[in-house]
Symmetry: C2
Subunit: 330 residues, 2 copies
């Protein structure tokens, strides 16, 4: 059977605060880019109809006939079954056992595929971003939490229960600080933005000086985002620099564990923290990782920043939709 290439698919990034959608061409170009608020406080049916409307708007804004759209790919956080398209648990939206694929296929009359957002972002970097041409790649995304995606032999690796890639929860410091997951010493508890802000708040509470002190209200630094931290870092705030450096060091130690275990060809570093601190952060991660890795394992591998920024999840979801459609056709 002749395989005609799938020329247009819709990619969607469903986040807790905003949903992005766009029609993606074979070259990874985004047409009819659309952004809308995710009404996370509402019922899942309402959230799904907002997502559907966002998709319809992207298709309509792309000026393509609807018949040219082959499928929709959706990336979203949380635990999901990418085969059935059921979201098992998404804490930010308060979802449990939501049949996203089924519901959206009925509403849109289009094939819908679902993927974890970090997996989607990793696949996008592999197919369209920093990792083009590489065979084995690990994506490391450092933000509020830390997520990972694994590409082995050119394919996204899901593991036995579909939940592989929880890089934020490898243990790098036994008996270390408490993690959001309840355990101690997870990478996420040492290197995420949450960890950086926690350490800053603690140090400031102890009387350490910082340009960020004035932004605290009753010890609460939660409203301090990556950009505020990045400004303090670039302006040379000593406390911020020290704590960010520590985060990068732990991130490098986590990367070293991944390198020693998986010996990938490339590690792509992305997420809000990496974007905010830029090449300074990436360099610190590389330095720490090199120190803890066998020379033979480190040889020839690349540790590079992600290239696709905020578009990664949308693009990766589109790549997956395209792959699935091509597989079904072929």
């Amino acid at each position: 059977m002749h395989k005609a290439p799938v020329d247009f698919v819709v990619g969607v990034d469903v986040g807790a605060t905003k949903t992005l959608a766009g029609v993606v061409t074979m070259n990874g170009e985004i047409l009819g880019r659309t952004k809308t608020k995710t009404p996370s406080e509402q019922s899942y049916r309402q959230v799904l109809s907002v997502i559907a409307a966002c998709i319809e708007k992207a298709i309509s804004d792309s000026n393509l006939p609807r018949s040219r759209i082959a499928a929709v790919g959706i990336g979203l956080a949380g635990l999901l079954d990418h085969e059935t398209g059921v979201v098992k648990a998404e804490p930010n939206l308060g979802w449990e056992s939501v049949p996203v694929k089924q519901a959206l296929e009925r509403e849109l009359k289009l094939r819908v595929f679902l993927e974890n957002d970090v997996n989607a972002g990793t696949l996008a970097e592999y197919q369209l971003g920093a990792g083009v041409g590489v065979k084995n790649l690990v994506g490391v995304f450092v933000g509020t939490g830390i997520g990972g995606g694994l590409i082995f032999d050119g394919r996204l690796y899901h593991g036995f229960g579909g939940v592989a890639g929880e890089l934020g929860h490898i243990i790098v410091k036994t008996n270390g600080p408490r993690c959001g997951c309840g355990n101690r010493g997870c990478l996420e508890a040492l290197a995420s933005r949450t960890a950086i802000v926690r350490d800053l708040a603690k140090a400031i509470a102890k009387g350490r000086k910082s340009s960020l002190s004035k932004l605290i209200r009753n010890g609460d630094l939660r409203h301090i985002g990556s950009n505020t931290l990045a400004t303090a870092f670039r302006d040379g705030d000593k406390l911020t620099m020290k704590i960010v450096k520590r985060s990068a060091r732990y991130c490098g130690i986590g990367v070293a564990s991944v390198l020693n275990l998986l010996n990938p060809e490339m590690v792509v570093l992305g997420g809000g923290v990496v974007e905010a601190f830029g090449s300074d952060y990436v360099e610190m991660v590389i330095k720490a990782a090199r120190k803890q890795t066998f020379p033979a394992t480190f040889q020839g591998i690349q540790i590079v920043p992600a290239r696709l920024g905020d578009d990664a999840v949308l693009l990766g979801a589109a790549c997956l939709a395209r792959e699935n459609i091509e597989r079904l056709k072929g």
Copy 2:
């Protein structure tokens, strides 16, 4: 082209002290099992001719006509290129850049394939041992050091430079004890027999009571093997029990990191330490791993003892030789 099954291959386990060889049937039965001392202090040419003689003896003892032997598979420690069959570095034998495949093929007039011993052992457990029927499996071998092998989607995973699986060198305790590799806090530095013996020697030197005290000469416990430790453990020596428990806990933390990252279907625990302490040790590892793993990741997975014991490397090397020959035959 018709694929006739490869009925007999030779498997070889080249260790620093002894070399085992045997002709392996399609069912994993070993014929003509042969064991010889590895003359590790001699030149690589002499070691290779001892290995060749060991192989010849196994073939001759199997009473099979030499024409029925399709290939030879060799498992050995150290860094090697399984494609070219060159051993890049084997510290125990003092080898560097030794063309094992080429040299043995010339001597034996048989196809020879090379694999890292831990990878071979993992493959054997997957094809003939604890992991039959499983798709994704991680082998964890705890002995003097700690090694790992990775089976993804039914195939041994080698990584970019062929050195994947260095599970002993994931970092579980940043700033922890110094590892043989030079870094700090590696799993091997916390859970291997080397770590157990180090901690015992240290505690005894500090005056802690133990039934093992009388075996020490000038603080040197190096001659204490896994069986001596196992006897003290089973006899209820409190210090040994405490330190072995700690080793198992760290091993479980390492396994938890692997589970969170890779979500395999099965973890097979093998090696001298696991064999010596048996199901007690395995249970302690499972308990610690469960505590540090997401319930969704732990669900349905199995953590089980290896089944093939000392035959694992020989059998795995034979499996690989068989696979390679079948692939070459097309």
